[in-house]
């Protein structure tokens, strides 16, 4: 059955919670399957280290992704190199797949502007903190691709809370009207900080919101990496090579759970029960994929151990590199404000330098 013709409340699944195959396994090489697993393990390990960096005062507020690895990595893995990713602020895992290094992600959350600059050959938009504000950008970027006759598809990430914002409505509506090559990937992790999914909308599913925009909507088990890959792949292909009868854009609702806090500034024990967290932990995407791959003979103890070692080393190296970066020069405050710095900004920058000269940096720093 075409994934776009399912009932909205019937999520696509490939693996059950034990890793047993219950759906159509996507056509992926053994090496791709191992890559998916490796990325997910790396993202999980990175997440734990990042939270502890914040706890130790070595990094600012950080939004954890633990529990959401399948949704991020399965979807990003389905994009082609020329496609674009438009993230919110939690997509460190998807970003890693697309070529945003862990070091760069760390730099952003360590307060360095360079952390928001993707390398030239990496098709990723900057982090978007204001909720849903990136959705119209994704539509515009896809529209540009269509107007220029290019092949690039634009995949936009946002959460369940974002579907309540005006920008979500406007961006998805434009995509429907102009039939843009978009995938709108909703990470429904059940909680917008303390506000449950049920408080965002009376709709039974988020996927069904697609109906009103005249685009396709599909729900997927967001903790099943193979299902996420398969659904995203189908949506990307349909966006790239228009089906004669179907709309190009798709809204994917990936049903999942954030195991941890909204950010390190949040305490989820105030608003949700441990029982609920435990129920969702049983759906953990990593053991699920691992069980499947072990059953297929793709992974064994030795391979798993070496992947873990590699992930630990990669994350440790990224932390070392990020922490060894010097504090940016204060002049960088002014850089990139405009193509050419107006005279007044030059004056302000010079005045700051003169003050530093006269008083030293210690006079400015609050540490």
């Amino acid at each position: 059955m075409n994934v776009f013709e399912r009932p909205y409340d019937d999520p696509v699944r490939v693996l059950d919670e034990d890793g047993t195959v219950v759906g159509d396994v996507p056509d992926l090489d053994e090496s791709d399957l191992v890559e998916l697993y490796r990325y997910m393990k790396t993202a999980r390990h990175f997440d734990g280290r990042a939270v502890s960096l914040q706890r130790q005062g070595r990094m600012g507020t950080y939004p954890p992704l633990s529990g959401q690895e399948a949704a991020q990595i399965g979807s990003a893995y389905a994009l082609a190199e020329d496609d674009w990713m438009v993230p919110s602020y939690r997509e460190h895992g998807a970003g890693l797949v697309r070529g945003i290094s862990l070091k760069r992600t760390l730099l952003y959350w360590m307060g360095h502007e360079d952390g928001n600059r993707a390398p030239e050959d990496v098709n990723v938009f900057p982090v978007a903190v204001p909720i849903a504000s990136q959705v119209p950008h994704a539509t515009g970027a896809a529209w540009a691709s269509k107007l220029r006759g290019e092949d690039a598809v634009v995949c936009c990430y946002f959460g369940d809370g974002a579907t309540s914002e005006g920008d979500f409505h406007e961006g998805v509506n434009f995509a429907g009207v102009f039939d843009t090559p978009n995938v709108f990937f909703c990470n429904n992790n059940q909680w917008a900080i303390s506000v449950p999914r049920e408080r965002q909308t009376r709709s039974e599913t988020l996927a069904q919101k697609a109906e009103a925009y005249g685009i396709d909507g599909v729900q997927v088990d967001g903790m099943d990496p193979l299902a996420v890959y398969a659904v995203t792949k189908a949506a990307v292909e349909k966006a790239r090579d228009p089906d004669p009868v179907r709309p190009r854009p798709t809204l994917i609702e990936a049903v999942q759970y954030r195991f941890g806090a909204h950010t390190t500034a949040d305490d989820p024990t105030v608003y949700r029960d441990d029982d609920e967290v435990e129920t969702w932990r049983k759906k953990d995407p990593i053991p699920r994929l691992e069980a499947y791959l072990r059953g297929e003979g793709v992974l064994d103890d030795e391979r798993v151990a070496s992947i873990e070692t590699e992930a630990e080393a990669q994350v440790a190296a990224a932390i070392d590199e990020a922490e060894s970066m010097a504090r940016p020069e204060p002049r960088e405050l002014f850089e990139h404000t405009y193509a050419a710095l107006p005279e007044e900004l030059d004056r302000q920058s010079d005045a700051l330098e003169a003050l530093r000269e006269a008083h030293g940096d210690a006079a400015f720093l609050e540490e």
């Binding site: 900080i193 303390s194 504090r327 940016p328 405050l333 008083h359």
Partner: protein, 328 residues
């Protein structure tokens, strides 16, 4: 004399809300995470348990919806107190603020009024993520029909917030989150008001008058104290309300010294310092001994936190500004 409590600024916010919700059933709080979570800064802690889901309302994640629904409630005579979680997230609600919240009274020739108070934490210095540190009060000051309040002490916070809630007109209440928990102050347990539109002198001085508000009041006072060692005696005026400005207090305090410095963390261009300078020019030109010095944020987007200490007016920068005005 009523009993007092020793509260932080954010506890004073909570106390004002609690006090008014007890006195007036028409007061409702709505916003993101204000309910069970008690607010991300705990400004509404315990209110959900005390007053229930009908009066302390977690809304969908939609700022235009929050502000717009508050406009509708207020038009019907209720006194909604919407919270926007950070002032940097007010912009999806900006259309509601400037097109409706500010203008309902004018547009309907007084038929509808909006006794609502829009609260939001503002300002930098807490190592926050992007869009969590801005100080953009000038946007709202520029909009006639709104009052804009920016307190700097727990006592003023409770008294001004109660005034705002009782005010017949819409008030934007910007809370300095840098000092939410920085210190405590005596706050009466009873209900009391601090009038909107009145500045207060925090320090008497003879040589120069420094105007400031919100989170910058503390480093400004620190700079004023430290300059006594150099023989500079600075007067510090805390505006408390930035719209309407207390014109009389500004002019009187300026005339006393003939020299002025304005300190705010908002960017320089188009900021409140320009307006205060103009008031001085209009009302007290002949008293003026020196150009007005502006010590402000720079005209750049608020930086990620690695450089925010250079962006914000530090005690050193404020001292330099004061010296400049005195030595001219």
């Amino acid at each position: 004399m009523s009993d007092t409590q020793n509260l932080t600024l954010v506890q004073a916010v909570r106390d004002a809300l609690y006090t008014e919700m007890q006195l007036d059933e028409e007061v409702v709080v709505l916003g993101q995470d204000v309910g069970k979570n008690g607010g991300v800064f705990r400004a509404t802690e315990g209110l959900f348990d005390e007053f229930g889901d009908d009066r302390v309302v977690d809304t969908p994640l939609a700022e235009s919806g929050i502000v717009g629904c508050a406009v509708g409630m207020a038009a019907m005579g209720m006194r909604p107190v919407p919270e926007i979680q950070f002032s940097g997230f007010m912009y999806p609600g900006f259309d509601q603020i400037v097109s409706h919240m500010a203008r309902f009274r004018t547009r309907t020739r007084g038929r509808f009024t909006l006794p609502m108070t829009l609260r939001a934490p503002y300002g930098g210095g807490i190592r926050a993520p992007e869009h969590h540190s801005e100080s953009k009060e000038a946007f709202y000051v520029h909009e006639a029909g709104l009052k804009v309040v920016m307190p700097s002490t727990p006592y003023d916070t409770k008294g001004l917030l109660i005034s705002a809630i009782r005010d017949p007109d819409p008030v934007i209440f910007l809370e300095p989150k840098l000092i939410y928990r920085a210190f405590r102050g005596e706050v009466p347990e009873e209900d009391y008001t601090v009038p909107i539109g009145e500045a207060v002198t925090r320090r008497e001085g003879e040589d120069v008058t420094v105007f400031t508000y919100g989170a910058m009041a503390r480093p400004t006072l620190e700079a004023a104290e430290s300059l006594t060692e150099e023989g500079i005696d600075a007067e510090v005026v805390d505006l408390r309300t930035v719209s309407p400005l207390d014109r009389e207090a500004i002019v009187d305090a300026f005339k006393k010294t003939g020299r002025a410095v304005v300190v705010h963390e908002a960017p320089k261009t188009g900021g409140l310092a320009g307006e205060i300078t103009a008031i001085i020019q209009e009302e007290a030109l002949l008293y003026q001994e020196a150009p007005v010095t502006r010590v402000t944020g720079f005209d750049v987007p608020y930086p990620l936190y690695a450089l925010e200490d250079y962006y914000l007016p530090s005690v050193t920068r404020i001292e330099e500004g004061i010296r400049e005005a005195v030595e001219f």
